[in-house]
Subunit: 468 residues, 2 copies
């Protein structure tokens, strides 16, 4: 007879840790650094704090062929309130980023996946030190994740009165890794992060005691992302039911104009008349079994009605053309560089902005195909390139049209910023082929490609003139 | 201030449904058919039942641009016991396949992801009819998934005395889809499933009323997969703790020889002496905080000790060289075909078998690269080809070595059977680059490639002889 049982989501990601990017010690060390750094950046630049981030990887003993590392990441971010520390690190699917806002984090899983891997490979608890701005205390917790119950199990706790004004978070995880083989990817990740965040200072100390330092080169920060209300095009039946249950709105008209973005009172009225619903109706009536058909009609109408304004894009936080040019120049010393930040679009109710940058010549080594730098919500993506929508677009471009003949010294950077990046997996390494995103990536790369073409044409003419 | 909250795993996969393969109506219709068919095949050929599977897709009304379909899949499988029906379909991460055995299912999510998508796009409950062998009753349930609680919400239930000896399961889900654009992939999926399962009869009725029929062409079934105990090389600290807590073993010696595969009494004794633990020790002492170091030493030792036998492979269920040849012949009418089932290997304590088949010429259209048919645990994989380890190996082969010049009429089939297939995502479309698997795929394809080479060489010589 078949043995039925349930699994907690912590057990699920412990057992299937390769789904989260923890398939082996090499990837696990990389992913642990990533998840911690991305949390630290979210805790700073989402809140107008000039990021100061310290990353340290030290050897922590070894048994047999197994190498254990202690990874510590500290930031000057907003910190975590004491009531939420245990769950933030000890409960899978617990997050402050389940709102509609452009952040690096979105799943409520990242740091927990790293803690689970550390726990099952090295057996040590995660250690957290944190203090929020304005708090008088620093809090300390050492904990394990009880996988069966998906709950934190605190093994040490403390708090001290703060003497200075430090605020931020320090997280220490011990895990099995392979520094010699993760090294180049981890360095690349940190470098590519620093390149598009010149307002951040990043220290990185390696197990060999080498200190890499990426200094802050500007105090000018991009505008932070803001939380948005849902857009009607992105609504589904479950969300609509939850919204009606939670909303204080007493009429359908009030529900639409209050709970959604891009829906004014006039538009709401026109829409409700078109879909055949009474604007004065109490929304809660739609939750009754006998009114199911009306609820479905409302959801369908919201998703397909063309009269709503586009999703707000001023809530998004692009890198910006200046920073992309500065970043590419500092990284490659090219002879030519340019960038474009496209106007916003939307897919399934989620606004997104595509940015592209191209660097050519100078210090760039000629290659058989463009060197592609992919970014999503300011995160550098280093794995799973071939199935990424960005790679598919860039590799499908006939670069001859832009006067580029391979081998050529060409670097292409593409960034997608959105309230929901459609990653292919929870390990956040590649982006799905959403048609609206695909066409916008193509437009962005072609736009900068045409500027490269003019430059190469002029350069070609100048060289001909010189030869005569 | 940041808004912290938790999410249930049902809410998580409803919100992030693209992770499970439900990114849009085209993929959702395909994935729904897949998840149901894979459950039906697991319910039959894992249990020595000659599979009879009926798939029907009908239009179920449309609203605006939205098209709703009713997908029904019925099988003659082992059915589901009444106590487990509601959870099997209404609780995400509930499964009978959380054991160490080669089955298509492994996550406890598949049918629930389809039900969630149907629920949020069409608003109808899933309907299940099921009866186990030997039961006097047929059971009926219509239910929704309560996403907030991750629990079934039953809206209709019934049971009837069975008049005949029918056993099996029928599942009906209504969802938004796009038949015209899913059509070719769904047909391809069913065809490729039938090709390697000639003991199965499959009926497929389309929305246009067309009936595709894949008749049973043999009653000879491959040996069914069997449940195995864990192998020491695959153990981690969490699993070891759970094992000790659940085991009745009163000594370490007993724990090792009873709870693991491939560990006899003599080997266990030798291993424990080598790792410095007392064979007579009560395993539960290792769970104490002060003995943490010993527990870690035991886990490390189990993972790295070379003296254990390889993981048992007779529990695996390959397709078999005969069936691969028959399947390729029936599908392509080639002039030449051959196949190999490799001897088993293991990665991280999980045994796996790689099989490869090649078909050449005859009815095959010449192409610029091999037509690649990927299979994992007898499931055809149709998406995400470029990041799959099988594609990476096959596309890296220099086929000139085997006398193949492109364009060429070449089909390559690769199947990986394992107690744990390392998929990249829960949507089960591509396989991670595990080094042991990668090298075994290469060996398998090269082995059949060498036979193709001989054939093409002889063919070439015969043609030369004829010309003279
Ligand atoms: N360094 C930090 N500073 C402030 N808050 C943090 C920090 N690290 C984690 N947190 C809090 O803990 C929560 C959980 O982090 P976790 O990485 O598990 O999920 P996430 O970042 O929300 O999403 P994702 O799984 O996509 O990373 C975060 O949402 C955040 O509120
Ligand atoms: N047609 C069926 N016949 C018998 N049992 C079934 C059938 N469909 C589902 N089940 C039962 O319901 C359980 C849950 O199915 P579900 O598809 O959600 O998960 P799974 O098949 O175990 O894993 P996966 O998520 O990888 O598909 C199965 O484990 C099986 O016990
Ligand atoms: Mg995170
Ligand atoms: Mg299944």
């Amino acid at each position: 007879a078949e043995k039925f049982r349930e699994m907690s989501v912590a057990e699920f990601f412990a057992k299937n840790r390769e789904l989260a990017g923890f398939s082996n010690p090499v990837r696990a060390l990389y992913q642990t650094v990533r998840e911690l750094v991305e949390n630290s950046l979210d805790a700073t630049d989402t809140h107008r704090i000039l990021s100061s981030i310290y990353v340290r990887i030290e050897e922590a003993g070894s048994g047999g062929d197994k190498k254990i590392y202690r990874v510590t990441v500290e930031d000057n971010g907003i910190g975590i309130p004491p009531d939420h520390i245990a769950n933030a690190f000890g409960r899978v699917l617990y997050s402050s980023k389940y709102v509609i806002r452009q952040t690096r984090g979105m799943y409520g899983l990242g740091v927990k996946a790293a803690i689970l891997y550390g726990q099952l490979s090295a057996g040590k608890p995660v250690r957290v030190l944190t203090s929020t701005r304005g708090s008088d205390y620093v809090y300390y917790r050492a904990l394990y994740i009880d996988t069966r119950r998906n709950e934190p199990r605190i093994v040490e706790a403390g708090q001290w009165r703060k003497s200075g004004s430090w605020h931020g978070t320090r997280v220490t995880i011990e895990l099995e890794g392979d520094w010699s083989r993760s090294r180049s990817r981890i360095l690349e990740y940190i470098k590519r992060t620093a390149v598009i965040a010149p307002y951040a200072e990043i220290f990185f100390e390696t197990p060999e005691g080498v200190m890499y330092y990426f200094p802050r080169s500007t105090t000018k920060m991009p505008r932070p992302p803001r939380e948005a209300k849902p857009h009607p095009h992105g609504i589904d039946l479950e969300q609509l039911k939850t919204m009606i249950q939670a909303s204080g709105a007493s009429t359908l008209l009030e529900l639409l104009s209050r709970e959604f973005q891009s829906v004014g009172g006039t538009t709401a009225l026109r829409f409700l008349r078109e879909v055949g619903l009474d604007p004065g109706m109490n929304p809660r009536l739609l939750l009754r079994k006998e009114n199911q058909r009306l609820l479905v009609a409302l959801a369908d109408g919201l998703r397909s009605y063309k009269g709503f304004r586009a999703p707000r894009s001023d809530y998004l936080s692009p890198i910006g053309e200046d920073l992309i040019r500065i970043g590419l120049r500092s990284m490659y010393s090219p002879e030519w560089v340019d960038a474009v930040t496209r106007t916003p679009r939307a897919y399934q109710g989620h606004p997104f902005i595509v940015e592209a940058g191209i660097a050519y010549g100078g210090g760039i080594e000629p290659r058989e195909e463009p060197l592609l730098l992919r970014y999503a919500n300011k995160i550098p993506l280093l794995y799973e390139e071939r199935e990424d929508v960005i790679y598919k677009v860039v590799s499908s471009i006939n670069w001859k049209i832009y006067n580029v003949d391979f081998p050529a010294p060409l670097v292409v950077l593409v960034h997608i910023a959105s309230t929901k990046v459609p990653y292919k997996g929870v390990g956040k390494e590649s982006i799905s082929e959403v048609p609206e995103i695909e066409s916008e990536v193509r437009n962005a790369v072609q736009e900068v490609g045409r500027r490269l073409k003019s430059y190469l044409y002029r350069k070609g003419r100048q060289e001909e003139a010189r030869r005569k």
